[in-house]
C-alpha cells in the first residue's frame, strides 16, 4: 500500500469545488478563503491543530454547518439555502462521525437500511441485501440483529461506515473517525477505510493518523487558524514541509 503510484489527476472531473469559502462562528473567523478541488476518486487527508477549522471545513460540504461567503459545488449542485439542493447533496455525500452517532433504538441492520428505504425509497428487501453485503465487507455480519449499545467502539464505527455506504454515496467524509476509539480498535477501522480507498471511493478524511495518510492519501492538507497553510502529496509533505507552522505541527505529532 505504501508504494502507491502518484496518479495524474488533472484530467479527472472535480466532485467537490470550494471557492473562496468563508465562515464565522459569531466574531470568530473559523474558515478564511478556502479554495479546494476534490477530484473523483481522490483521497485527501486533512490535519492540523485542534480548532484549526478542519472539521468545520468538511461539515460545510454537506451543510451541517452553513458557510457565509463563497461557493461550494458538490457533484454539479451548488449549495444554497434551498432544502431540495441540500437534500440532493446529502444523498451523494456520506459522513462518518467521531462519536459514531448510530441510532441506539434501532438494530444494526435497521441502522443501515433506514435511509435507503425512506430517503431513496428502496424496497426493504433490496436495502437489506445491500446492507448485509456491506456488513460482510466491514466484517461484522453476525452483529446485524444486535443494538449499537451491545457493540464495541471499533465495531460501532465500522457499522457507521457501512451505514454511510448503504446510501451508495459518491463522496465519503470522515470526521476524526478513530479519535474516540480505544487504541486496540483503531486498526480495524483504518483497515476498512484503506480497503474502501482501494476500491476508488472519493474520501476526505480529517485525522491525525499519519500512517493512514502515507498509505492512502493522494494529498495531505495542513490547516491552521482557518486557512489551508500547505498541501502536498504525502511523501513530500512529510519529508519536506515548507511552512514553519507545518514543521512545528509535524514535530509535535511525530516525535514524542
Amino acid at each position: 500500500m505504501a508504494a502507491k503510484a502518484v496518479r495524474d489527476l488533472s484530467n479527472i472531473p472535480s466532485v467537490i469545488e470550494m471557492r473562496a469559502v468563508n465562515k464565522w462562528f459569531g466574531q470568530f473567523h473559523v474558515l478564511s478563503d478556502i479554495n479546494l478541488d476534490v477530484k473523483e476518486g481522490e483521497k485527501i487527508v486533512i490535519c492540523g491543530p485542534s480548532g484549526s477549522g478542519k472539521s468545520t471545513l468538511i461539515r460545510c460540504i454537506n451543510r451541517l454547518e452553513e458557510h457565509q461567503a463563497g461557493d461550494i459545488v458538490v457533484d454539479g449542485v451548488t449549495l444554497s439555502n434551498d432544502v431540495k439542493n441540500i437534500e440532493a447533496i446529502r444523498r451523494e455525500v456520506g459522513m462518518v462521525f467521531q462519536s459514531f452517532n448510530l441510532f441506539p433504538h434501532l438494530t444494526i441492520l435497521e441502522n443501515l437500511t433506514l435511509a435507503p428505504i425512506w430517503v431513496k425509497k428502496m424496497p426493504k428487501k433490496d436495502a437489506e441485501e445491500i446492507a448485509m453485503g456491506l456488513l460482510n465487507r466491514v466484517r461484522i455480519p453476525e452483529q446485524a440483529l444486535k443494538y449499537p449499545g451491545q457493540l464495541s467502539g471499533g465495531q460501532q464505527q465500522r457499522v457507521a461506515i457501512a451505514r454511510a455506504l448503504c446510501m451508495q454515496p459518491k463522496v465519503m467524509l470522515f470526521d476524526e473517525p478513530t479519535s474516540a476509539l480505544d487504541p486496540e480498535m483503531v486498526k480495524e477501522v483504518l483497515d476498512v477505510m484503506i480497503e474502501l480507498a482501494g476500491e476508488g471511493m472519493t474520501m476526505l478524511v480529517v485525522t491525525h493518523e499519519m500512517g493512514f495518510a502515507r498509505a492512502v492519501a493522494d494529498r495531505v492538507i495542513f490547516m491552521d487558524f482557518g486557512e489551508i497553510v500547505e498541501q502536498n502529496e504525502p511523501e513530500e509533505f512529510f519529508a519536506n514541509p515548507r511552512n514553519e507552522r507545518t514543521k512545528l505541527f509535524l514535530s509535535q505529532i511525530l516525535h514524542h
Partner: protein
Amino acid sequence: MTDSLPTGERRQLAPPLVERGALGWMRRNLFSSWVNGIITVVLVVFVGSILSSFLEWAVFTANITAETGSECHGQGACWALIIEKYRLIFFGTFPYEQQWRPLVASITLLAMLVLTSDRRMWNWRLLVIWTVGSFITFLMMFGQIHLPISLFLAIALLVGGIGMSLRKAIADTGEMNAYRFLAAIGLIGLALRIAGVLPAWSLDIEPLSYVETGLWGGIPVTLILASYGLVFAFPYGILLALGRRSDLPLIRALCVGFIELIRGVPLISLLIMASVMLPLFLPSGVTFDKFLRAQVAIILFAGAYIAEVIRGGLQSLPKGQYEAAEALGFNYVQKTALIILPQALRVVIPPLINTFLGFFKDTSLVLIIGIFDFLNTANQALVDPNWAGFPAEIYMFAALIYFIFCYSVSRYSKHLEVELNRGTRR
C-alpha cells in the same frame, strides 16, 4: 507450580458464601444490629395495630345488609351504602332504566384502552380501534348519532390528501388515481356544501332514545374526558414541543406563548372560561355543548404540560443524532418521526405517565361547571338524608376505583419501559 490456563481464560472463583434462607435474610436485613432490631419490632407492632383496627372496621364489624343509614350507625364500615348507591356512583343521573348503555360505553372504552396498550396495534389498527370504539361509545351515550354529509366529504378529502402526499413515491398509478378521486370528490363536495348547493343531508342512526350530555355522569364521563383528552393532547403536545424548538421565530413564539399562557392559569379558570366566557364571544345562535367545551379545555391544558415533558426528552438527545440523520439525507418529518421522537418519547415515559395520571384525576375539576364525573357522582351519594354520615365509605370506595385505574397504568408504563429498552443498553 503455576496453573497453565489457556490465554484469555481466567480461573473463575465462586462468590463467597453468605447465610442463605429466610433466617439468613432476616438476620442480614432486619436484625443486623441492636438498633435495627428495635426499629423492626416497633414498626411491626405499629403497622400491625393500625392494620388490625382497620380490618376490624372494614371487614369484621362492617354492615352490608342495612336498609337505611340509621341501621348502620354505631358499627363498622357501612358498605350497604355502596351497594345501595352503586348505580348512582357509577352512572350518575343517566336515566335509570337505560343505565346498561353507559355500562356498555365504559366497557367499550376500557377495551379500547387495553387494545391500545398492545404495541402490536400501533399502526393502522389503532385508527380502526378508535373509530369503531368511539362510534359504539357515543352511540351508547347519546343514543342517536347524526353524521352530516360534510363529515364524509372531509374524511374523503383528508384520506385522499394524506395518501397523495405520503404515498407519492411508493404507490402505483391505480392507487394514486384513487387518492386523487377521493380528494377531488371531497373538495368539490365541500365547496358545493358551503355554497349551499348541496342540501344539509345527514346519516341518522337513531336506535335508542336521546340522552343529552347534561345527564351523563360517573365512570363513563371520567373515562371519556381523560382518554379523549389525552389522546388528542398527546399529538398536540408533540407538535407544541417541536414548534417550541423550531427555527422559525413566529412558530416558536406562538408555541412558547401558548404553553406559558396555559401553564400560567389554573385548570379551573380555564374550565370556567370555556363554560361561561366562551359563549359570550361566539355569535348568537352558535352553541357548543358544555361537555365538549370542557373536553376542549382539558385537551388544551394537558397539551401544554405534555409539550414541556416531551421537550425535556428532545433536549436529552445528543446533537450527533440530529446530525447523523441530516447527513443521511432525511428530511425534517422523517428525521423527527424515525430518529428523534422514538428516542425522545422513550426517555420521557415516566414523567409522561405522571402527567397522564395527574390529568386522569384532575378531570374531577369539571364539577365546577356542573359536569359530574366519577368522584362527583360519588359525592352525590352522600346527599341522601337517609344515608347521611358515611363519607369515609364513599371516599374509600372512590379511592379504590381510582387506585385500580392508576396502578394498572403505572404497571403498564413499567412494562412498556422494559419492552422498549430491550437490547438498548445505554
